[in-house]
Symmetry: C2
């Protein structure tokens, strides 16, 4: 891609997702209209060209990049990435590595995106594997939970790295200088919990982060901590449980309300409650980022359509402009230095 | 205690809890009025006698049993049980072991109750340690979660035993013959999850229990499973998170409602919502039982007062009459037999 000063260059996997390439191409064009972007659509050139003829792309900084293969949702990620060096996600990721792109966005198979990013771009020093997480929306404010499911068996130094990621998240997207970090645990006192959190506690204590100790399940939504650190097994179950809560509360209220006429206000309340607890990637700044990769790689749901694709591309731009990855590298290096002091 | 045929003989720790002995003695007398019980109040005789003089206990099957020591909340449980052989909880537990009592109820330090029960009564074959858990009330029905915090680092055979406990719970208290058992996990497919659940899956499959596979966080409240099996770390965090939910939802609704006059109905709704998600031991049949102990030992909150004490004693009676412990022993033996077949 030609370098237009300040424009963020995004390599978009045009072949990944349930509605590829139509909705991906449409989304890319939508995003470009906001400005500050250059987009490379990665995929089969003839298919992409056919899509592009449907739109007025005159003067838009858009081009297509050849990639003749696609990795499907049901393929084994590692094998697929190995056997398909010309897969759209692989080509896009390599553009990030070579400096031809500033970010990658894909609605394709998440596993393949993770493998490809880890293999061709690599992780930041101190991070074994990428982590995913995001803000707890709804009843809570300025709270981010890391990890939400990428790492189900963790070691203590991983939890430390999740804390660093959460701190960068809170600084960049909540604009909190010194976010409060807590370990999710079964009790408030030091020494409580399973082996993992007991061993993680002292690492967090000497990390130089604003570590406030353990918090219990009661306090996830209380705002006591801006960054809630947990392994991905707990984070995944808790976030999905929370996502389901609005619907169950709404159903319950509707049932209770049966005897009374449900006013417009009541209907509105229930609908809002149902969507409130969804920890949507789409609504989340940087929630879809593969945190820990030494570059900006954003995954999104396979069922994403043009508006979601556009949103994600614009988020990738913000993540690049906020230098999220550079800040995380600095933070990880600082923690590593502090941790080596005894 | 003299054996009155069919009466359940409960040894009540008269010295344990924030309001001991006054509220404990009062609660015992309340419970006795329901019938079917004989109670031994275990503690310092003079203190108990002083309390008893305040009440009309004529003809009530109540006596006091001497125990000159008390284990305090802040003592190390194992040391305290070792150093205080005449502590009220120790004496009460030994009465269970010797057959002088059918059940023990205590509002004293939980740790000491667990250590005392494990040491002097022992666990059922196949259970390493006692487990605690209980029904998920509120938005869910006929759903019990095991373990809720007693075992934070688990091995697969422990998760299997939690499943057996949950099945007995559902049979005895939900009256479901063949309860559906699920493993709480990050994905529905076999092979998903952390090491613990991946290794537990095949054990549950060949257990002969009605194992329906994995369920995700979304489905905890859906009723898909009657028995949700998880380690105590996850169970504790999830149940506390759930307990807090009603309050946060209530606060949110109240805020939304600000512009409108909050009707009596609205106030009622919010109050009900707030208490709805509390997984209270008090409301739970057998939720306070130390499951896995080879006898009926019920713990309760230190702040329990007479009505709660009475409730718990009556629950102990129900647990004895339903032969919960005997049924669990049979189930554990059956699972052990099935599991040894290859």
């Amino acid at each position: 891609m030609s370098r237009n000063r300040k424009a963020v260059r995004v390599a978009v996997d045009a072949m990944g997702g349930d509605y590829a390439p139509q909705e991906i191409v449409k989304g890319a064009i939508l995003a470009l209209k906001e400005g500050g972007l250059e987009i490379g659509l990665v995929g089969a050139p003839d298919i992409i060209e056919t899509e592009l003829t449907k739109h007025d792309i005159h003067h838009l900084p858009l081009r297509s990049i050849r990639a003749d293969e696609v990795i499907e949702e049901d393929e084994h990620p590692a094998f697929a990435v190995y056997r398909k060096p010309n897969a759209s996600i692989v080509v896009a990721t390599k553009m990030l590595k070579s400096g031809e792109a500033d970010a990658v966005v894909s609605a394709g198979a998440t596993g393949a995106t993770v493998v490809s990013a880890t293999q061709f771009v690599g992780t930041i020093k101190g991070m074994d594997r990428p982590t995913i997480g995001g803000p707890i929306t709804g009843f809570a404010h300025d709270t981010v939970m890391m990890d939400c499911g990428a790492n189900v068996d963790c070691r203590p130094h991983q939890l430390l790295s999740f804390a660093a990621v959460g701190v960068i998240y809170a600084r960049k997207f909540f604009h909190i200088d010194n976010p409060k970090v807590a370990l999710l645990n079964v009790g408030a006192e030091e020494g409580k919990g399973n082996e993992l959190v007991r061993e993680s506690y002292p690492l967090l204590q000497k990390s130089g982060l604003n570590f406030i100790g353990n918090i219990e399940g009661y306090d996830v939504l209380s705002g006591k901590a801006n960054v809630i650190v947990c392994d991905g097994f707990v984070g995944n179950i808790l976030s999905k449980f929370y996502e389901s809560m609005g619907d169950y509360a709404g159903q319950w209220i509707r049932k209770k309300w049966k005897k009374y006429p449900l006013s417009d206000f009541g209907e509105k309340l229930i609908n809002e409650l149902s969507s409130l607890t969804k920890m949507s990637q789409e609504e989340s700044m940087g929630g879809a980022l593969l945190w820990g990769i030494d570059g900006v790689v954003m995954g999104m749901h396979g069922n994403s359509q043009a508006p979601q694709v556009a949103k994600m591309i614009l988020k990738a731009k913000d993540v690049v402009n906020a230098d999220v990855v550079g800040s995380l590298k600095v933070e990880m290096a600082r923690i590593s230095k502090v941790s080596q002091r005894r």
